[in-house]
Amino acid sequence: MESVQPVARLRTRSTRARANSVLGWVRERAATTPGRLTLISVLVLVGALCFGVFATTAERSRAAAAEAARGSTEPLLVQAVTLYTSLSDANATATTTFLKGGLEPPARRLRYVQDLRLASDSLARLTREAGSSSAAGTAVRTITEQLPVYSGLVESARADNRQLLPVGAAYLRQASALLTGTILPEADHLYAIEAQRLSGDYGTGTAAAPLVVIALVACLAVGLLVVTLRYVARISRRILNVPILLATVLLAALSIWVIVAMLGEQNSLASARRASDSAEVLSATQVLLSRAQSDQSLTLVNRGSDETDPPDFRRVMGVLAAPGGLIGEAASLANQDGLGASASHLESYFAAYRAEAAQVSSFEGAGQIGSAINLASSPSSTAISDRLSGTLAGQTGTAQRRFNHAAADATSSISGLSIAIPVLTIVAAGLALLGLRQRLQEYR
């Protein structure tokens, strides 16, 4: 230990000596006017460098976030949502159509098939692009494995149903249980993963801290140039040094551009988020409506011996209808987006759906299963739920288009900055140094 101490002391001494020498160099320079000009040149260079680095870093991270949101995370979220909604709708369609027995309307069959096709397309895209994350990969794999099993069970149920075999109901029950118990939770998982990633991009793209830092660094850099301008004017007894003035104006203009562009990007991204949030709420509403439909159909298919679907139906309707529930939220979103008509449609269609569902439940509760099935599978009932899901899908589409516009605005509002920041910062620094050099040469 004793041998170490002198070494440490020596090191401290040498560091101190070096610091002293730097300080000495600065003091030496500060004593004379040309020395001071050299010091100022160094400071201007450091200031410009700081500004350039901060501004470029912030611009890069924001541009990357906005671009990711527009080009990859949001589209993936849309795929995850499409997977979720189309699978839910497929099950709702399969279960309600089952009530029709062998006389299933071709349009319903087509809808089921299209739902499965949509789900498969989304799954294929998610497989390609979500493969990087292992959690998403597992979810995608489980869905890919189980989806054919699901459709196989649905087909068995249909075949038995056409022959009036009650075991068809058991196959349908098993299919639905596989979907709601295994497949949809994985879809939910995928959705949560993609939603979180998008949320992360929004967070980075609209973070206030980098903008505050840029604003402060820009102020300091421009302030330094103003001080330099005044100092040079005083020692040279000339009113203005043109290159330094140009540098000051240039840097100030660039700073304002950067801040204004980033604020624009931030606002656009915030409205992009509002749009994609609307789309998410609307899609979740669709998913829950499908679940309510499946629950009610299965209750009827199971004919009074069902202890899980009726409580789930009540719970889901609660989530939809409660004050601040999804229907209310979706309607208020539509109002905010200036789609007042759509909002009132949504509420009136949902009220109609709810009234009809209550009627079906009361038939079912009274043991009049035949009447309940007739009402639930009647064309008017199908029309109500189709209108409801159509309105939701239309609103989702509008929100999606709004997202695309806003996200494109966000990326385009900062698009010039990636070149402008380094080039203009270098030009400004160059001009300032040029101005200082002119003065410095007068002393040689």
């Binding site: 038995d160 149903n161 009036l164 075999l165 009650p166 075991v167 109901a169 058991a170 196959y171 029950r173 098993q174 118990g181 939910d188 959705y191 949560a192 939603a195 949320s199 609209t206 206030a208 903008l211 505050v212 604003a215 402060l216 102020c219 421009v222 302030g223 103003v226 001080v227 801040i259 980033m262 604020l263 931030q266 606002n267 991204l269 915030a270 509002r274 949030d277 998410e280 709420v281 979740a284 829950l288 199971n302 004919r303 009074g304 011996s305 202890e307 899980t308 409580p311 789930d312 719970r315 989530v319 529930g325 999804l326 939220e329 009274a366 043991g367 299963i369 035949g370 099935i373 007739n374």
Partner: protein, 325 residues
């Protein structure tokens, strides 16, 4: 100069404040995730039937009156008269048991052995009046409570008469002598419950069948399911080697799948009786009178042959009525 720097700094701060305004919240995301995450209700399996104290002749019921009232002329003050005033009998039934009580999706009508017995009962009250019976679909768990709280007048839904249940409701005489048997694939070597060692056997959660199975074939592997027909799916998918249940239910399964057979002598007797509230002994006597007539005049056999004749060609004798006292 200082003022200039200060104003520049102020501009910067204003910009920073503006920047903070544009930040977003994740309210919608949380709302959406919470809504989508609405949990499925968990199903708690029914508790296994507990051992019960013996109660003498479990199937003994109240003796019918010597003279039965004529249809449409029920004695004043009786429960039947109340049903008559109402205009229809309310019967709790299953809708899922093919051949016994099943809602035919093609015509929307309930049909089967139990349904016909109940229709005959309604006819004995009203005489062939249209709309004299209303069926109420009930779950297995609802069978006893529905009788106790008066939701239905009578339940004919594969209710096995047991000593425990007799403490809660009254039973009619036996209208069907069911027994626990096995359903296996047509090429299966299984002949009786003695061959079940190491085999997977499907039964409904909470049923008496699953309890009897563990007693009679302790080395079998039970495969419990929520609903009866799930067992037929499990058998068709090769997930189980056999299904155990009352033969009444197995007959319905066999009718749906010709590649199966019912084997074994019944390893537990399951006498079915109609459940009636303890508050209406007069109705119990009346129902027993109707059943006695059905046994005597060949109606019982006719109903049996209409529904079960195809899958069980040998028509048995109607179950014997046992009376109290």
């Amino acid at each position: 100069m200082r003022r200039a720097i200060a104003s520049l700094l102020l501009v910067g701060l204003a910009g920073a404040l503006l920047a903070a305004c544009g930040s977003t919240s994740d309210h919608a995301e949380r709302l959406t995730l919470a809504a989508l995450g609405t949990k499925l209700p968990s199903t708690s399996p029914a508790p296994p039937p507990s051992p019960e104290a013996p109660c003498g002749d479990v199937t003994a019921s109240l003796r019918p009156d010597a003279v039965m009232p004529a249809p449409g002329a029920m004695p004043a003050g009786s429960f039947m008269a109340r049903i008559e005033r109402r205009g229809y009998l309310v019967a709790g039934v299953d809708q899922n048991t093919l051949l016994f009580a099943y809602l035919n999706p093609q015509n929307g009508q309930l049909e089967g052995f139990e349904i016909d017995i109940l229709r005959d009962l309604a006819n004995a009250i009203f005489g062939n009046k249209p709309g004299d019976i209303r069926f109420k679909a009930i779950t297995t768990a609802e069978r006893i409570p529905a009788v106790q709280n008066g939701t239905v007048d009578v339940v004919a839904d594969a209710v096995t008469i047991t000593c425990d249940r007799r403490k809660q409701v009254d039973f009619s005489t036996v209208y069907y002598d069911a027994g626990q048997k096995l359903l296996v694939p047509a090429n299966s070597p299984i002949r009786s419950y003695r061959d079940l060692s190491g085999k997977r056997v499907c039964a409904t959660i909470g049923s008496t069948s699953i309890k009897t199975l563990t007693e009679k074939a302790p080395r079998s592997i039970p495969y419990p399911v929520q609903q009866r027909t799930d067992c037929l799916v499990a058998l068709q998918q090769g997930l189980v080697d056999a299904v155990t249940s009352d033969d009444s239910i197995l007959l319905g399964f066999k009718a749906q799948d010709p590649y199966t057979k019912i084997v074994g002598t019944s390893f537990a007797a399951e006498p079915y009786g109609m459940a009636i509230s303890k508050a209406h002994p007069d109705f119990v006597r009346f129902v027993n009178g109707v059943l006695a007539a059905m046994r005597a005049d060949g109606t019982w056999r006719a109903i049996y042959s209409r529904w079960l004749g195809k899958v069980s060609p040998a028509i048995p004798a109607p179950p014997t009525a046992h009376y109290l006292g």
